[in-house]
Amino acid sequence: MRIMKILSGLILLAAFESCSSVVLKPADFLWPIESVLKVDNKGYIEEPRYSIIVKVKTLFFEEFADSNNFTGKEIRMIRDKNGYCYMTGKDFKNVYVFFPVEGGFKLYEKILISEDKGLSNPAFNQKSPYIELIDGKNKYLLQHKGIVR
């Protein structure tokens, strides 16, 4: 009788668990090419193809410690297979990896590319499962956790 009670409890728990965490897998979020998006005077960028609008004012503060100098600047953005968004721009020293959360993007990783000088002409290429960052002659293979090569 006792064993029966324990078993039914376990079954109920398993059923409850499976209901609360339904995951649809696999999913592919990759963008075939990066998007080059101009920041408007309110600090927003808009990607019409994927219907994404995001405020990047905080990103500029994070990178340059200045959240006022963003109007007209370009943000290069790409998304990998797993859904991580990579953002950088001219004069940035870092590549920012974000993951979508409710109503926003949460910083997952800040990848330092160059300590001394900002990127002069950065561009992302989709090299699934990685993201390639090129800057003039330099090429970096990135993953959401950091530089792979």
Binding site: I33, E34, V36, R49, A123, F124, I134, K137, K139
Partner: protein
């Protein structure tokens, strides 16, 4: 020797490194490069000015396609909502349509060419006919044969002018169609097509010729009101089309002075044509009064006609006591019965009103005045006499009837019987 080999190897190595560097191209740049070149080709298709240019574009499209074949997977994904193949299908289709336009233009050019030949042939015949008519008109004595041949020539000329006008209208209409297709600013290719059409059809010359022949025709022949009415309709119709294409042609030929002048000249000729028709109409109406020796002041417009006729009537009314009654009556009946109500009102006034050369209100006002004039020339008292006479006759008839009835009653009454 070894040093040399080393140098060669160094060069090759550098070239390899450079090549690696060059090939480190952003996918975004590649896509943008493709998009820009594609856009340039699209523009080129739109602005192509000839079939040859289309063929060159076709080659460029093939080159672009070949150059980016290696990037098809990337472009397929990045050209959303298009893909590599659909993008090329689209531009190739646009090019085919453009080529079709040029083939059509070549066809039209041939058609216009043949029209042009016909037009010049008719124009030549017309010139000959006009000379012959003038010569026959000059002849002092016109026998039946001369009159018959004159009539024949005039009707031939009339038919020829109508036929030639129709041909020229055909050219103008096809041009108008082109402007309607491109209502806004024309691109270079469309402009070139118009230049060609105008030149091939010798359009400006032919419009000038059409107008001047119509004017000449009016000068050398006796034109009926019906002819003039038709001519006015033709003028209005042609002028309406010219008003539509004239300003557009002026814009197209903005930097070609001679053509701009020709367009301005055609504008003036249309004005001249219209005033000639109007003059002819008013001239014929004036003539109607002159022929009957009615001293109506000459007029050249609806308002002048209205004023002249009214002042004539007013003068006649004023002069009633000055002139003899017979003379006044005679003038009145000639004016009304032989001129106004015989020809002007039934024939000319509908034409004048239809062509907005006279208002209905003016017509009504003239006729009201004629009514007043009639009252004065033939006063209403005569009518009263007739009415009184009629009444007397009626009363007499009634009395007669009553009298007859009374007699009948007497006859019916029996005499009293003797006792």
């Amino acid at each position: 020797m070894i040093k040399n080999k080393f140098s060669i190897l160094l060069v090759l190595f550098t070239a390899f490194i450079l090549n690696q560097t060059v090939s480190a191209q952003s996918d975004y740049d590649k896509t943008q490069n493709f998009k820009n070149r594609y856009k340039q080709l699209e523009e080129a298709v739109k602005n192509a000015a000839s079939l040859d240019e289309c063929n060159v574009i076709s080659e460029n499209i093939a080159t672009l396609k070949e150059k980016f074949t290696g990037d098809i997977p990337l472009l397929d994904k990045s050209l959303y909502p298009d893909n590599f193949e659909s993008s090329f299908s689209r531009i190739e289709r646009a090019l085919e349509i453009r080529k079709g336009d040029f083939n059509q233009i070549v066809g039209l050019r041939t058609e216009v060419g043949s029209l042009k030949d016909k037009v010049s042939e008719i124009s030549q015949t017309n010139a000959g006919l006009l000379v012959q008519i003038k010569q026959l008109n000059i002849k002092s004595t016109k026998d039946a044969q001369t009159i018959a041949s004159l009539q024949k020539l005039v009707s031939q000329l009339k038919a020829n002018i109508a036929q030639r006008d129709e041909l020229v209208r055909g050219i103008v209409d096809s041009l108008l169609e082109q402007f309607v297709k491109s209502p806004n600013t024309l691109n270079e290719a469309e402009k070139q097509a118009i230049f060609k059409k105008v030149d091939n059809g010798n359009l400006f010359f032919n419009i000038e010729r059409t107008i001047s022949d119509n004017i000449q025709y009016m000068k050398v022949t006796q034109i009926t009101p019906d002819d003039l009415s038709k001519m006015k309709v033709q003028y209005k119709d042609f002028n309406k089309v010219w008003r539509q294409i004239g300003p557009k042609l002026s814009a197209v030929y903005l930097d070609k002075k001679d053509k701009s002048m020709q367009i301005a000249n055609i504008d003036n000729m249309f004005g001249d044509w219209n005033s000639r028709i109007d003059d002819e109409m008013w001239g014929q109406i004036n003539k109607l009064f002159r022929e009957k020796k009615l001293a109506v002041l000459p007029f050249k417009s609806g308002d002048q006609f209205y004023n002249s006729v009214n002042s004539f009537i007013d003068d006649e009314i004023k002069n009633l006591n000055v002139k003899s009654s017979t003379e006044s009556k005679n003038t009145f009946y000639v004016f009304t019965d032989s001129v106004y109500f015989k020809t002007i009102q039934p024939v000319w006034i509908p034409i004048l009103i239809e062509n907005k050369m006279m208002s209905t209100a003016n017509k009504d006002s003239i006729e009201k005045r004629i009514g007043i004039w009639k009252q004065k020339v033939a006063p209403a008292k005569n009518n009263i006499i007739y009415i009184v006479l009629g009444a007397v006759i009626f009363i007499l008839i009634v009395l007669l009837i009553l009298n007859i009835r009374k007699k009948k009653v007497i006859i019916v009454q029996e005499p009293p019987k003797p006792e």
